[in-house]
């Protein structure tokens, strides 16, 4: 299914990575699917609407986290921080909000029915199982999934908590699925 068959949605996000990788993405004007990255295939963005300040800080902290914990940028010619911003243009029929009330209700109801044990990470897996079942029933795959995930209470090097920490302790992210990476456009480097 084409991503432009329905009315489209314009999403905006930031992406923290190494300078080498960021420059390669900007030069090629596209994100490449990679199955061996820390998050697996797909591309991941911190969502923002008008004010990019929080999404930029989250992207920076992700870079610190991935670099320190997983040596994600080991071997890169320039592993220093770079932040990208991009637009994601996706048909509203292939955009799925995994943090919507209705999906959370389905998730919780199903977890209770199947007696999911979160200690085995099965709760996280159940989200994906439900998403795939929805896709199967509908007969097509989603290109972009919105998910609200935990944010850090402390941004390294900063003394003040992001307000989202006080508000919800979560921030929205966009997961662009491997088959939909072409929906990412207007990729630009952001001043760090």
């Amino acid at each position: 299914m084409s991503f432009s068959e329905s009315s489209s949605i314009l999403l905006k996000g930031t992406h923290g990575t190494s300078k080498s990788r960021a420059e390669a993405i900007v030069d090629s004007e596209e994100f490449q699917a990679s199955a061996d990255g820390q998050l697996g295939a797909g591309a991941y963005f911190w969502a923002y609407d008008e004010d990019m300040s929080l999404a930029r800080r989250l992207a920076a902290n992700w870079w610190r986290f991935a670099g320190k914990k997983c040596n994600a940028y080991e071997g890169d010619a320039d592993p220093s921080l770079a932040i990208l911003k991009a637009h994601i243009e996706v048909g509203d029929n292939v955009y799925f909000d995994a943090s919507s009330e209705s999906f959370l209700e389905l998730l919780i109801k199903t977890a209770e029915e199947r007696k999911i044990q979160s200690t085995k990470n099965d709760f996280n897996k159940l989200r994906a199982v439900l998403l795939k079942e929805i896709e199967e029933v509908q007969g097509f795959c989603f290109g972009v999934v919105r998910a609200e995930v935990d944010v850090p209470g402390i941004i390294s090097g900063e003394r003040e908590a992001p307000y989202v920490y006080w508000a919800t302790k979560q921030a929205a992210s966009y997961i662009v699925m491997p088959h939909a990476l072409g929906a990412i456009c207007n990729i630009e480097l952001v001043e760090v």
Binding site: L39, K69, E105, E113, I134, V137, D150, P152, S156, I175
Partner: protein, 92 residues
Amino acid sequence: MDDLFKRVFERIAKLSDAEFREKLDGVADHPLVKVYQAVSCSWGLLPTLSLDEAFSKQDIERYLLSQSISYDDVLLADEWLAANDEQFVLAA
């Protein structure tokens, strides 16, 4: 959409345990699973730690970052952890 979700719930509910287990195991590398796995620890503090230290300190951070304490407590805890790195290594 409600009807769609009901259909999905019914499909999952009627699976046998083995079939359901297979479904769960089949999505281990799904991006939606990976993203929640990646942020499931208190990753705001973790970057200051080495891998060797991460396990024990992560446990402490998870406790410290629970909603029952204030942000100031978290800042103090971060400073304490940073100041006691050597003690942690020795204790481990």
